[in-house]
Amino acid sequence: MLGFLIRRIIQSVFVMLAVALIAFMMFRFMGDPVNSMVAENATTEERDAVRARLGLDQPLWMQYGRFVGRAAQGDFGLSWRNARPVSTLLAERFPATAELVLVAAGLSLLLGIPLGILTALRPNSFSAQTLQFLSLIGISLPTFVTGILLILVFSVWLGWLPSFGRGEVVDIGWWSTGFLTLSGLKALVLPSVMLCLFQLTLIMRLVRAEMMEVLRTDYIKFARARGLPSRSINFRHALRNTLIPVITIFGLQLGGLIAFAIITETVFQWPGMGALFIQAVSFGDVPVMAAYLVLVSLIFVVINTTVDLLYAVLDPRLRVDSPRGAH
């Protein structure tokens, strides 16, 4: 177990170093920053002085080392677009994205698992068939089209829910939350529904497939033969083994939610990190892009590592220290 833990953490560190290298290379791609910092008629000596002051005369690997060192402290320099520290920009935007993703993830689990169980236990019922069909549509619809349809129906035609922004937010320290006001909660509904729909259908289909698989196994048949009540078989014996793969997929998809939040935030003008990232992409604002990339990768890596460890805790068969190929 400890060996597994250490190996996973070393692997994660390598992934993060690779991502940092990509982020670092992005700066190198964007031409020579010295040109924009000195006067046009500057002499070679003046240019060299600026270069030395910025540390650009050092070998590449030293520059990379310095970049990693600063990134580890959250320092990504100033945004090229509005000259504010990138870390401040991201910190301002982070709560909005985090709340949106958390609500969407919660919704997809709370609805997806019961619906999946329902369709697995009664696969031929009318409601199960309808749900299966709806989930097919849910997977095929582009997320932004879903969002537009939600706005058209619930904001434009019915006028029930707001279609942009976070509503009123309450500041708790540096964290601004929309959970505490009515308008904040109302503003959360449509974006989180849009963000969770794809996830929801995925979890529902996964739970259904896993559950049907488990229900066919011998130990379930044996439990039936022992005359256990079907409620106990379905929920105590079958569901437990169903949920293990669901945890993995859910963990991986949580990262996907953060990426897809970019689209949701654009559709609903949600003031989160994704909207910031899109602005950075369209203006070629490298520091913001690099910082977002590193931050999101860090979240991904932490989630993936946690899921792997959780997996080992939940499934006793994986606890034996086996070589990587074995699982």
Partner: protein
Amino acid sequence: MTAPTLSRAFDSDIAWSFRHSWTARISSLLLIILFAAALFAPMLANQNPYDISQLNLLDSELPPAWAEGGDPRYLLGTDQQARDVYSSILYGLRLSLLVGFASVALAAAVGISLGLLGGFVGGLVDGAIMRVADILLSFPAILVALLVNGIARGILPPDRHAEAAIWVLILAIGLTNWVQYARTVRGSTMVERQKEYVQAARINGVSGMGIMINHILPNVLGPVLVIATINLGMAVLTEATLSFLGVGMPATQPSLGTLIRIGNEYLFSGIWWVVIFPSVVLVVLVLAVNLMGDWLRDVLNPKLR
């Protein structure tokens, strides 16, 4: 094709399965219609939406022909700038499919080459390619595409963005999607490498490059067709998403995604037709491609059934 081959083709498993699968028939029919519409767009369209001189501002914001206040000349209505929605969709479909096919071709070319190389050479080269693939695969495709897009925009001067947009998109989407091809081709290359015909070629003195291209490549291409079909749906969707986010095709040269973005801006004035019709076409296109891909996978890979 001679008559016996033709009749044999009609008698094959694939043809049988095609005749007995209504999803395959409906989706192929839809695809034929959409491809034809894109191909013959200039003939089918009522106006060239790129040509400002053909637009008449008096006709702006007209609803579809069947709705109240609609004009029979504009079947699906017009947008804010009096562009005919039906014609814009035809031209937009053209661009969406063009970017889709080109990026699939790029992804397939990169993926097949790297997979073939990794599988045949093995060792460090293989390890390096597969580690890059692993890292790429652990990020959502849309994020990778956005990053490539952002870097390309940073390199290009701003006044060139509009004309280079289509190339940037093809590059971004193509470089995002090669991993699946590489993995599949690498797997089958490693199997083929052991076989006797490869050894025979080696004994005959064929170079490594020659063996890879002339002997192994034809034998590992089978699954690529299925991946490419499914990939096409993904590529069209990614293009639409990027254009919708405002970092894809510019408003002067709208693809389906750009049309949806433009329509979205006018949603609150109650002009629903500008956004709904391109969305419907996009959804139908992606759905038909995906169903076709699913069907192909089932037919060509009986093991997966």
